[in-house]
């Protein structure tokens, strides 16, 4: 699955956990999801669970930090690291 395929999936998921008073359209790919008010910090845990179930990711080896989940771009990088 490419980054382009993953993005709609992620956006659809974020729609289900976002705060109702902030719309996803107002957030850029590099905007901080918590600071922009779209998500609360608890939602980050749900993103981890989503990545584990949807993309079979296991963080117990690599570890994870909140910065890696802070923006849509960072999450997409986590799913499929950018190829340079």
């Amino acid at each position: 699955m490419s980054r382009a395929d993953n993005k709609p999936k992620l956006i659809a998921f974020l729609e289900t956990i976002r705060r109702p008073d902030v719309t996803l359209e107002s957030i850029g790919e590099h905007d901080d999801l918590v600071d922009s008010g779209l998500l609360d910090s608890l939602a980050l845990l749900e993103i981890i669970t989503f990545l584990e179930t949807e993309f079979s990711m296991d963080f117990s080896d690599t570890g994870i930090d909140s910065d890696q989940l802070s923006t849509i771009a960072n999450i997409l990088d986590l799913i499929e690291p950018r190829r340079t």
């Binding site: 289900t16 956990i17 705060r19 109702p20 008073d21 600071d35 609360d40 910090s41 608890l42 939602a43 845990l45 981890i48 669970t49 584990e52 296991d58 963080f59 117990s60 080896d61 690599t62 570890g63 994870i64 930090d65 909140s66 910065d67 890696q68």
Partner: protein
């Protein structure tokens, strides 16, 4: 223009494009430097921050090297405050340098380490540090005050460096430390911009991500830093007024002038100690005022440190951001002491969350929160107080840790319940209603104040007050 718009305009002055453009000019940088020096004039850090800032503004491309150079003076200042003999300073540079260089080498070659160390890097680091702390007992036995000696300095420095080295290893684990230089890590391990055992600005990854490289971005960060320094002064002034008029304490020798107007409210520790001699309303007032005062203190101190960090061109988040307006316990915790919350999250919460009970969502959250806000919180403070705990022995340690354990447990449990409530609210209509009514917001804010004020009974004056004094005070608030 409405009052709200005018307020927004003033409070966001540092975002003004014209001001940023001016601040990016040589004259603007000079004014930023002069204003910083003036704002820090009464602080002991001015002698370090002011010259370093001048150098960073002149040669921003060398900022990590300049700040790493400042680390030597910062370390010297810290040890002097710990009453360590200045003659011992060169001797202490050796173990500190070795520890930092050892961690640096580990971080930059992390993926070549044995698999066990890769998986458990933080545990290995803590095991080594705790082993070194225990070794110091052979040199200074329990009950002997080692403050001021080299052993005492190590007992102070190890817990101070531990979490910063932890962030270095995290960068190694993620692969971001590869290719970095040693000095890229020194400057945040012994920060010239100030701080406590808690790494303000976190570690390498976070600082690099928030580094403002372009002159305009640096100017914007510097203006945001100046704003924080001004805010710190405001909160310090409010605290001083509180001490003078509400607590009737002496501030700058002004007590005799204002004594007739002071309310003489006892500090919470004093109110707990002499609960029988003060009335119920005064006990409640003392408890809420303590929360207010502690919050102002954290905000002022954090703004000073983060303000300096922003001035050096690292546009990181504030440590404290309007916690008294939080409408849930978990929101308060996030806003009250951001970098401590981040430390507990990175080193305890997330590792527990991604490792165990994956098939049990609630249990998974509960265990992760208890690992962080309860166990991690106690562990952090035990390490910080290791010198004093060594002096009071095992019995004294238990007496001291006991009340704090209650505080940490209540905090963790409160956050867990609050998280579940947030989870159940999310996406529901209730959430929309929640943000819309003022009385509802005020009720929730009051609930948050009440919770944090009540649990603080278990956190105030860790040494002087006994477990039973605190319990009696708590019950007496409700007429029991």
């Amino acid at each position: 223009m409405t009052v709200r718009q005018r307020y927004a305009e003033i409070s966001q002055l540092h975002e003004s494009p014209q001001l940023i453009a001016f601040a990016a000019t040589p004259a603007g940088f000079f004014l930023v430097w002069a204003a910083t020096t003036l704002l820090l004039a009464r602080s002991s850090t001015v002698y370090l921050i002011s010259p370093l800032l001048a150098l960073v503004l002149l040669a921003p491309q060398w900022r990590t090297q300049i700040l790493a150079f400042g680390s030597i003076f910062a370390l010297y200042g810290m040890l002097t405050r710990q009453q360590v003999d200045p003659a011992a300073f060169p001797t202490l540079l050796v173990p500190v340098g070795l520890l930092l260089y050892g961690c640096y080498r580990t971080a930059t070659s992390y993926h070549r380490l044995p698999r066990f160390v890769q998986r458990n890097g933080q545990i290995v680091l803590h095991a080594v540090a705790c082993g070194m702390l225990l070794t110091t007992w052979f040199f200074t036995p329990v009950g002997v005050d080692s403050k001021g000696s080299i052993v005492g300095a190590l007992r102070f420095l190890l817990p101070y460096l531990l979490w910063r080295c932890g962030y270095m290893l995290l960068a190694g684990r993620r692969g971001t430390a590869a290719g970095s230089g040693f000095l890229d890590h020194v400057f945040y391990c012994v920060p010239a911009y100030g701080g406590t055992g808690i790494p303000y600005g976190k570690g390498y990854d976070h600082l690099i991500r928030h580094r403002a490289d372009a002159p305009r971005a640096h100017a914007q960060a510097a203006l945001a830093g100046l704003k924080l320094l001004v805010l710190a002064w405001v909160w310090l002034a409010v605290r001083s007024a509180l001490a003078l008029f509400v607590y009737g304490e002496d501030v700058y020798g002004l007590r005799h002038l204002f004594l007739p107007y002071a309310f003489d409210v006892p500090r919470l520790g004093e109110a707990i100690a002499r609960r029988d001699s003060i009335g119920l309303p005064l006990a409640w007032l003392s408890m809420f005022l303590e929360l207010f005062d502690v919050t102002l203190g954290f905000a002022a101190w954090g703004h000073m440190v983060i303000g300096a960090l922003r001035l050096f061109g690292f546009n990181v988040f504030r440590n404290t951001y309007k916690p008294l307006l939080a409408e849930s316990l978990v929101e308060f915790w996030r806003r009250f002491y951001y970098y401590f919350k981040e430390l507990l999250t990175e080193f305890f919460f997330l590792p527990a969350y991604i490792s165990i009970f994956k098939g049990y969502p609630r249990l998974r959250i509960f265990v992760a929160i208890m690992s962080a806000a309860f166990l991690g919180n106690i562990y952090y403070h035990m390490l910080l107080d290791v010198e004093e705990l060594a002096n009071v022995g095992f019995g004294g340690t238990l007496a001291r840790v006991g009340p704090r354990s209650v505080y940490c447990f209540l905090l963790a449990f409160g956050i867990f319940v609050s998280m579940l409530r947030e989870q159940s609210r999310r996406g529901s209509r209730m959430a929309t209603a929640r943000t819309s009514t003022l009385p509802g917001s005020l009720r929730r804010i009051a609930g948050v104040w009440l919770f944090y004020a009540l649990i603080h009974i278990w956190n105030v004056n860790p040494v002087e007050l006994t477990f039973s004094q605190r319990l009696r005070f708590l019950f007496s608030l409700f007429g029991l």
